[in-house]
Subunit: 331 residues, 2 copies
């Protein structure tokens, strides 16, 4: 059964966030909200992988400099990404004198790391943590699908991996800042979806599972929150998610927004929106966090979802197990 | 700077451990200590990957049944492995109704997960956790090196990936049981080693870095511990590690044992001993944990080391960043 953690003693504040996005994201519907973008998706590096890694370093740098912090001020950095052996994270943090914990739950890596860091801050074992994740269209395509040079066509149910990295600086309770008050850790759910191009539908049941458990554990429902933000279910996956929730008696109309569903123009013929670990990280960082600061939202659920497949598991005929972790943030 | 956590309020007990090893490990020098072994390294499955996954399930089952626990009794399971997207972990836990946090720091994944779980128990947010990891010679060879069918020769500095999975059941303080009293989280260290066949030497500086930080943070030294156990530096890596520590004024002669160095016959001409995330997990579980129970050792350091490379990072000419996390266990 899923576990809900309550951060009552010392709920961690989200002190600041930072994100950097790629060219496509910077001209999308949320383009004006993204403070930092790159105009060349190699970021001046020789390979896309090095570019993704550099985006993570860039975010760490921004979080340190914008908050007048030295590496010594950060007790732990939790990070992960979609590349094999999470090399974007490991190679980015190598340049910093900061203790590192690598985490991986696919696109739910961000809320996983926020959960672990919140536990550490709440228990007063640490003062400050950075939680970070990234994805890159070109690194994901060639690792999970086909070489870009092939120019493969995309099926209509597919999503587009977001190029971007987003990071969160957590710290001790500060009444003026948004804080994380709860976290629900999901379990692995597998409804037998085998289409690696349809990850929204593979992940939707995991999102339902964690959200229902959260409502049940905390004795709350959708009306207790201003907004329920999911990570990257995409447009089709979001529809499945809302339908399944409706079957269970929860009406998410006007309550649910999917980061993957809003980062690009809604054009279902082309694809179902954004995906990738970086998707929810950049959208939450630069679009939703400022709204929490301005108290436009007072209490929200932020749930990132992850599809726990690998190319090898798909080749061996396996279905796609999925997971979702959520946090509750209050202004 | 590395961070040391002190578990003073409610130091977590290691309630039990369980491990399963492959055929080669079961006839090695520690064979008589391993309680469970498989005689066919496919474990009756169609692929080596499914076999590795099944080993993780096997260990979860043993931990549940031997301790009369239901899945509901486990608040969280932390697991990771060396396969791309940690599929052994994700697919194994899919069969259990247990909240899952995926972690990855290569072969230091085990001590990373023990650290996070200890924080959760110490802060009383959870009662029980399972920490788990695995590796498999045949899955690692074909993912990181060459297809087995090629029959490639191995250079003398190489190590042999252990086939095995080991798990740890942590719970609330119980005076009769060994407990985890401290944990030091390492940072990423890169001394520029580029030889992916010589991971012991790549990881040794990370081990030195974390151990020195631990001694410094806790104001202790080697003489304060009965034993300093490393994960899988191997024979050559251990020699480098001890030499570097000696240069810093610490004499680890008679104090240091490497899990990778004792799991196979010492035959340097063939290879430098065991490696893989499963190596330290099975050796600590079935060889060292019983000695803690019998109070043969009263206070030990257990430090697993990880080489944070991927095949792609090596192909792109990168060196091997490494990391080491340690825990202190007391009888």
């Amino acid at each position: 059964m899923q576990k809900t953690f309550y951060f009552k003693k010392n709920p961690p504040s989200i002190i600041n966030t930072s994100a950097v996005v790629g060219p496509k994201e910077s001209i999308g519907p949320l383009g004006k909200y993204f403070k930092h973008s790159i105009y060349d998706d190699t970021f001046g590096e020789k390979t896309y992988e090095k570019a993704e890694c550099k985006m993570q370093s860039y975010v760490i740098n921004r979080l340190l400099t914008e908050n007048n912090l030295k590496t010594d001020d950060i007790d732990v950095l939790l990070s992960g990404d979609l590349l094999n052996q999470i090399i974007s994270a490991s190679f980015a943090v190598r340049e910093y004198d900061i203790p590192f914990l690598g985490v991986y739950n696919a696109c739910s890596t961000l809320t996983e790391s926020l959960t672990i860091a919140s536990i550490m801050v709440d228990s007063r074992l640490i003062n400050k943590a950075i939680c970070l994740t990234s994805s890159h269209f070109s690194t994901a395509e060639r690792q999970y699908r086909y070489p870009l040079e092939l120019g493969s066509t995309r099926p209509p149910q597919s999503q587009w991996t977001v190029t971007g990295a987003g990071g969160f600086l957590l710290g001790k309770t500060d009444k003026k800042l948004p804080k994380i008050t709860m976290a629900t850790v999901g379990k692995v759910v597998d409804f037998g979806v085998k289409d690696a191009n349809n990850m929204g539908c593979a992940m939707a049941p995991a999102a339902v599972d964690t959200l229902l458990a959260h409502f049940n554990n905390t004795n709350t429902r959708e009306t207790d929150y201003d907004l329920i933000i999911t990570g990257d279910l995409g447009i089709l996956g979001s529809r499945v998610f809302c339908d399944l929730m409706k079957q269970k008696g929860y009406d998410l109309t006007d309550k649910h927004v999917d980061c993957g569903g809003i980062i690009y123009e809604k054009n279902e013929k082309e694809f179902q929106g954004g995906s990738g670990a970086g998707c929810s990280a950049v959208v939450f960082s630069d679009y939703f966090y400022p709204k929490l600061i301005k108290k436009e939202y007072k209490k929200i659920i932020f749930m990132a979802t992850g599809a726990l497949l690998s190319t090898l598991s798909s080749q061996q005929g396996e279905s796609i197990p999925s997971i979702a972790h959520l946090i509750v943030a209050e202004a």
